[in-house]
């Protein structure tokens, strides 16, 4: 009987060593670190530092203590997986002349860079979201933001981008980069955000 129990324990131990169920927190590409909490009915563990792993033996066993994991171990198990990760989406911010859907000089000069970036993405998708500052009424600004987004959409199509790749939206005055009181002019909020992914 004891032998039987021992061999079961041994088997469980071996399974755990072979990897099994593991969760590893990594640094984001921008260097920041978030957190993950691994939880089941038997317990929970939170990971907050990068390069640390948690093992979980089974659904009824509490997640193990966080333990360091080497780059070599990460590469052995996840090298192929990490290799298949898509390119990081890129966001461009284009600014407009007050009350208009005309780009500022500097922003107009940025268009070629956006077009180049789109070419770098396999099966590229482009989202174009218009924004305003808080000069003028809310409804008028929702329209103006949409006009701005549409103007960028037309420019991108004129440069040869396929219309079906572009999704247009308006956030009006409600999603400012810089918080202001109502009726305050803020050039940095008069913008269209173009995200390429």
């Amino acid at each position: 009987m004891l032998r039987k129990i021992l061999s079961v324990v041994l088997m469980l131990g071996l399974t755990a060593c072979a990897g099994g169920n593991r969760f590893v927190l990594l640094e984001d590409e921008d260097g920041s670190v978030g957190a993950i909490t691994v939880e089941n009915t038997a317990g929970a563990q939170t990971l907050e530092s990068p390069g640390v792993a948690i093992k979980v033996a089974g659904a009824g066993t509490a997640p193990g203590r966080p333990q360091e994991i080497s780059q070599q171990e990460i590469d052995e198990t996840w090298g192929t997986t990490i290799g298949a990760s898509p390119r990081k989406p890129r966001t461009f911010i284009l600014y407009f002349i007050i009350g208009s859907d005309r780009l500022t000089e500097e922003s107009r000069a940025q268009l070629p860079e956006i077009l180049d970036s789109i070419k770098e993405f396999p099966a590229a998708e482009v989202s174009v979201v218009g924004h305003t500052d808080r000069i003028g009424g809310e409804r008028r600004n929702a329209q103006l933001a949409l006009q701005r987004a549409e103007a960028i959409r037309r420019l991108l199509i004129a440069e040869g981008l396929e219309p079906e790749l572009i999704e247009v939206d308006s956030h009006g005055e409600s999603n400012p980069l810089i918080e202001t009181a109502d009726e305050v002019a803020e050039p940095r909020n008069r913008r269209v955000e173009v995200t390429v992914q």
Partner: protein, 160 residues
């Protein structure tokens, strides 16, 4: 012309004003709509990867759409997906993953992303959903559930 309280309560400053228009574009996740809702595009394929969709099994190529409830399967191959909110998930060999729920309507604060990793390996890199709603993202596995607070992480599941 908007009162400051409302502006503050808008989630991460995102619009409430055009919520309906956004909802119309993005679509509700109802059981009927879930089959049709496009949630991601295939960006990288190395070897072979498949999507099980209703009764059909499709081999995946770059540029192909992934729908809510799709089950992605690999044997030797691996595959990389970019979701509508910019989340990126790559899946390694011998894996089986399902995207159970994907709701991305930031203007209404409706955000949710549930991934089920039945076996194999994956890398998750957070997108806008995790940024706006830290409790909205869950990766479920047979042994534990992972709650994600805006980050990049790896998972390996022995599975069946």
């Amino acid at each position: 012309m908007k009162n400051p309280h409302r502006a503050k309560s808008a989630i991460a400053g995102l619009s409430l004003g055009l919520g309906l228009a956004v909802a119309a574009l993005t679509g509700w996740v109802t059981p009927a709509a879930a089959q049709q809702q496009e949630v991601a595009l295939v960006k990288v394929v190395d070897g072979e990867a498949f999507a099980q969709r209703a009764e059909q099994r499709a081999q995946l190529g770059v540029g192909e759409a992934i729908y809510a409830m799709d089950v992605i399967e690999t044997a030797q191959g691996s595959v990389g997906l970019t979701f509508k909110d910019g989340t990126r998930i790559s899946i390694g060999p011998n894996s089986r993953v399902q995207f159970t729920e994907f709701v991305f309507v930031p203007a209404e604060g409706r955000l949710s992303f549930i991934v089920e990793l039945f076996r194999g390996t994956m890398q998750y890199i957070s997108g806008v959903i995790a940024k706006l709603s830290p409790d909205a993202v869950k990766v479920k596995t047979p042994v534990a559930t992972v709650a994600v607070r805006g980050t990049r992480f790896l998972a390996e599941v022995a599975g069946d």
